[in-house]
């Protein structure tokens, strides 16, 4: 494997610092929103970003953040490309991202999208991130951002958020 050109490495380094505007506990790279960094034939650094939901209001903010970070990092001429295909999936959230979500109190997706349960739209019982009881229930399929649903623990009675499996 050949080493990455320094510009690409510098871009990844700069982009890795960017926190998600709505869930600052995780970075855009952790969530799989920043998908690729490469250099095209004309020498332009190209960064690919995948929006989570088509209507997510954070998409524009994220584009601005990526542009700002690349500008500050002195990586030369760059372009940001929106990647629709393949579509973003919660399977792309890294192990590190899942750990950070849990620590922040958001339960990460419990299923792989292609699993039998995932395909049937079923999800296993999730543990309360505070008291770890499995006695929990969904109280709303939608939450404060497009990517989350709202659940409640029947033991400690605290509500908690769940990162939807999509």
């Amino acid at each position: 494997m050949s080493a990455e050109p320094p510009r690409v490495a510098a871009a990844w380094h700069a982009l890795a610092q960017l926190e998600d505007p709505e869930i600052p506990a995780v970075t855009l790279v952790d969530l799989g929103i920043i998908r690729s960094v490469g250099v095209d034939a004309a020498g332009v650094l190209e960064v690919g970003i995948s929006p989570t939901y088509t209507g997510c209001p954070a998409t524009e903010v994220i584009r601005g953040m990526v542009s700002g970070a690349l500008g500050a990092a002195d990586v030369g001429e760059f372009a940001i490309k929106q990647l629709l295909s393949p579509p973003w999936t919660s399977d792309w959230i890294s192990a590190e991202g899942r750990r950070k979500l849990s620590a922040y109190g958001i339960v990460p997706p419990t299923e792989a999208v292609g699993s039998i349960r995932g395909l049937k739209g079923e999800e296993r019982h999730m543990a309360c991130p505070r008291c770890h009881s499995l006695n929990t229930e969904c109280i709303s399929q939608f939450g404060s951002t497009p990517c989350k649903a709202l659940h409640r623990c029947r033991e400690c009675l605290e509500p908690f958020e769940y990162f939807k499996c999509i």
């Binding site: 939901y53 088509t54 209507g55 629709l84 579509p87 399929q141």
Partner: protein
């Protein structure tokens, strides 16, 4: 590029037809924000509306490129005349009570799920990519709306009566969803769009299953006389557009 080049003007109209369904339904759902029966449903309907408008944005950006007159998504969404909107008439029907909104939503979610699933194998790569993204969101919407239809249908005598009445009222509009016209036929022949008759099979299966679980009766099909898909709308669309277009018509070129 793909087959798209040969069918440009037709493809433009087809992409608008798909996008207008999402835009008009999303605009309708937006009317619930701040006045839904509970905060969870306020969030639910608002989130579905956001997804729908997001889908419309992707489709309108593409339509603008196909049209080649340098019009962006906002101009296409906000500055067309009523006759140029090509959504099926069902999408523009009033919200009514929460039950009526849910009935309309189940009927359209199930249709969009089949439509996007079919478009994923479109000969047009851009449409296929948008559909692959939208199908995942639509599956979630259908879970939400179907869950509510079961609770309302299999709920109290009052909630059952209300959703059954809404179903009787909205059912005649569903025929238009599957009525193939020249544009649908041309798109299917070019491998760009799925056959509407094929979509009806999956749609009916889902609708039958959810109606049975909700203890609701499927109304009989009746001859239809609605043609929103070719720009001949019910009286309701004009009011939606008046609200939606007010800012852009009053302040031309206004930006967010």
């Amino acid at each position: 590029m793909s087959a798209a080049k040969n069918v440009g003007p037709l493809l433009y109209r087809y992409v608008l037809r798909v996008g207008d369904l999402s835009l008009v339904l999303g605009q309708r759902l937006g009317e619930w924000v701040g006045r839904a029966p509970a905060i969870e449903e306020d969030l639910g309907l608002g989130n579905v509306a956001l997804d729908l408008i997001g889908q419309a944005r992707l489709l309108f950006s593409y339509a603008g490129e196909l049209e080649g007159r340098n019009r962006g998504e906002d101009e296409i969404a906000f500055l067309r005349e009523q006759r140029e909107y090509l959504n099926p008439t069902l999408a523009e029907q009033p919200n009514g009570d929460f039950g009526q909104t849910i009935v309309r939503q189940v009927l359209i979610d199930a249709f969009q799920l089949e439509l996007y699933a079919g478009l994923m194998s479109s000969a047009d790569e851009r449409l296929a990519a948008i559909a692959a993204k939208a199908v995942k969101e639509t599956r979630y919407h259908l879970r939400y709306s179907s869950g509510w239809l079961v609770r309302l249908g299999d709920g109290t005598a009052e909630s059952h009566a209300r959703v059954q009445a809404a179903l009787e009222q909205l059912w005649p509009y569903t025929v238009e969803l599957f009525e193939e016209d020249d544009l649908d036929r041309e798109m299917a022949d070019s491998g760009i769009a799925p056959r509407l008759a094929a979509l009806r099979v999956g749609w009916s299966q889902h609708i039958e299953a959810v109606l049975a679980e909700a203890t609701l009766q499927r109304p009989a099909d009746r001859p239809f006389s609605w043609f929103g898909k070719r720009g001949e709308h019910s009286e309701h669309l004009g009011y939606i557009l008046a609200d939606m277009q007010y800012m852009q018509r009053t302040y031309p070129g206004v930006r967010w």
